[in-house]
Symmetry: C2
Subunit: 435 residues, 2 copies
């Protein structure tokens, strides 16, 4: 902590990056299956008085490569200088044009660009800065965002087709068992509802032919009459298939999420159905908004502070949606309790958060915070403690980092198709549209 | 201060409202002439530890009527609960539908509604809360908005056709003299440039027939070659006249501001010229954005935190403009140093503030702050002091309030047409389009 003494309480003295691998169950999606372990990056921002703020974001190699120069450049900067994070990241993280060759196109997150990766990194740093700032000033993060407009945030049950165990046998085992048909999906939903009180359900689709997934949603509608349902095939369907599913399930769906990939296909689907279309694939950055909104391609945007560059950008996205009459919900990728706290704080401040938020959290058995979040009646109470209101469990962090250190490299970059090939050596990432 | 002791440093203990009348020169616009005195409202928010934050907004009777119940309801609320200001104001300031009968349609501000009045009131309270919060926490207001991205903010010279003295002889006299022709406008611009260093010029038009105003802008272009020029007739022109002026001045105008009233007319003008159109009349609230942006009716929005509901809403407006490729500048109405400080703080945090900001400030000889702002090279340095960085001059405030108390009612509501009738008893507010 020698560096810390040179700076004041509002100045960043030190930044620590800790890549970790966390256990993840064998959840299925259109690309493949979740690997036994998935990478996350834990960011600690320490101010001059020794206050530590924590953030969390994606931990794959290409994210780490962007995070390291930003972490190195931050000491000496004000912890409240959040606008400055963007200009600093632009300066030190390299020219997006230069690194864009190494960037995937496609995947569950839509088209990936260097800009998107950089925003995901900034997001983790922004949350850590807000946590530190709140702790220094005795204010919860929601107050730094203008104050909560609700005391609790609704979450939705995130249902997955899944295997009982990982194909390669490597496993932090759980007792959920397989869910590969309507009965399995309903049983999973029942356990979610009983354990956490969730009142709405999202099924990750794109795994089985559409009629099987229609049957699963129908079964959910019968088991939970009147409760909001969502289906998300991650863009796996053609326009025609999307419209077919919309017709079949229009009476029970709250919204249909990314039935087809690309704004153009979504606009075609939207023109042919009254079922609202949601997205976290064709609109994941500000430059993608104008075309999608002007063409009425989406009726709901699934915000995600990791994608959009932080909690303050998420609030700006919310303002844009409010202004253009587009609904707002919240997306989730595999994450731990730091990100769930951040999601809950920002969700609490947005007046037009029109739907229950997604969260993978119940699937995560490991965490880096000392006290896990607990859903009650499908909701999380918004913390009024200074900062995010979570404390880092250094022992857990160390153990999960050691797993990352010990890994032979096979898990450090999430690859759902590679995991699927453990079960099916001929598996290839399906081309889109798959059906 | 007995109330203060009951609350902590982050809780509002007391709110003081002080309506004042401030001297205003006889500036001309399409509605008439500025009255000798114009009303403003000074808002003091005192927290539990005795910290006082200051805000400033419109002071006309109908604004005061909305401000009083909000001031009465605030003690006990958190000074950081800025999102809560909106819900509280909705609750205590009355149903807009009920008071909308008393609201003017038209005027310099576009269509006025109860919602717009309420946002102007919220704005003054928000700034006062931010000033108090910053003082309590040792942070400048710009840091509460995420941090400045520039150290100084550019302002533009705001030129007016004007009389030498007020028609009724009532006067806090100044030595500017009349400006009623191109030579007078150029002389005024020269003094502005020499005294304050402004490098761009805006002429308030709509006063004389368009050819006379074209001649004045031409004279400015000759006197200040290559420097950005703007002309703003406050919607006084027809579509045809607007296009005529755009053709005549297209080579020297940075933008043409509200040549025609209504989004529909602006869209027609925009379709016929390459000159960017700016507005602070047809887009002054979030619900007006979608139509105007979709129809490409405006290329620049003139933000104004008094209109849009505060500094944080102004940043949301900026995000929307950035996302839709629309330029951003800043509007000004008659204001004092508190509002100028607020304008400068928010302007410093917005990356896409593409133009120099307007300010009436040089026309105001009176103020309620102890040390007036000074423009250097047309710019104001952004304060890094806690809060806004201004201190209230209680003696000046008292004197200007006494003027309001002593007023017979004729100045408590700004009425440029009434002032004009002192010179021309037959004067009526011109119907639009005037030319």
């Amino acid at each position: 902590m020698q560096t810390a003494s040179r700076f004041g309480a509002l100045t960043i003295a030190e930044v620590r990056l800790t890549p970790i691998l966390i256990a993840d169950p064998p959840l299925l999606n259109t690309q493949g299956v979740h690997q036994p372990y998935t990478p996350r990056l834990i960011i600690e921002v320490v101010t001059g008085d020794g206050t530590t703020g924590v953030g969390e974001t994606y931990g794959d190699t290409r994210y780490l490569e962007l995070a390291r120069p930003l972490a190195a450049a931050l000491p000496g900067h004000g912890v409240s200088d959040l606008n400055g994070l963007f200009t600093l990241a632009e300066r030190v993280c390299g020219d997006p044009a230069e690194v864009s060759d190494s960037v995937d196109v496609g995947g569950l997150r839509g088209v990936q660009t260097a800009d998107k990766l950089r925003l995901s990194i900034i997001s983790g740093f922004e949350v850590a800065c807000l946590d530190a700032l709140g702790k220094v000033q005795g204010l919860p993060v929601h107050a730094l965002l203008g104050g909560k407009v609700r005391d609790a945030v609704d979450y939705s049950a995130y249902l997955f087709y899944r295997l009982a165990a990982h194909p390669d046998g490597q496993d932090e085992s759980d007792d959920w068992g397989a869910a590969l048909d309507p009965a399995g999906v309903v049983a999973q939903a029942r356990r979610f509802a009983d354990t956490y009180g969730f009142g709405s359900f999202k099924l990750k689709g794109g795994v089985f032919p559409p009629d099987e997934e229609i049957a699963a949603v129908r079964a959910l509608a019968e088991a939970f009459p009147g409760q909001p349902l969502r289906l998300d095939p991650n863009g796996a369907w053609s326009v025609e298939t999307s419209l077919y599913v919309a017709r079949e399930l229009g009476d029970v769906l709250e919204y249909l999420e990314d039935p087809a990939s690309t704004t153009e296909r979504m606009a075609e689907v939207a023109a042919g159905t009254e079922v609202p279309l949601a997205t976290n694939m064709c609109v994941t950055t500000f430059p993608e908004i104008e075309e999608a909104f002007t063409r009425k391609a989406v009726q709901v945007v699934l915000s995600d502070h990791h994608y959009w560059g932080g909690l303050r950008n998420t609030r700006e996205l919310a303002a844009i949606c409010r202004t253009f009459g587009v609904g707002l919900s919240m997306h989730s990728n595999t994450h731990l309790g730091i990100s769930l706290a951040a999601m809950t704080h920002v969700a609490a401040t947005v007046p037009n958060l029109d739907y229950a938020c997604d969260s993978h959290y119940p699937w995560q058995t490991e965490d880096v915070i000392t006290r896990r979040h607990e859903f009650t009646d499908g909701r999380l109470t918004v913390s009024d403690l200074p900062g995010l209101g979570v404390a880092l469990d250094q022992d857990a962090l160390k153990a999960l980092h050691q797993r990352w250190v010990d890994d032979d490299g096979s898990m450090r970059d999430r690859d759902d198709a590679a995991a699927m090939r453990k079960a099916d050596p001929d598996w290839k990432t399906p081309s889109v549209p798959r059906w």
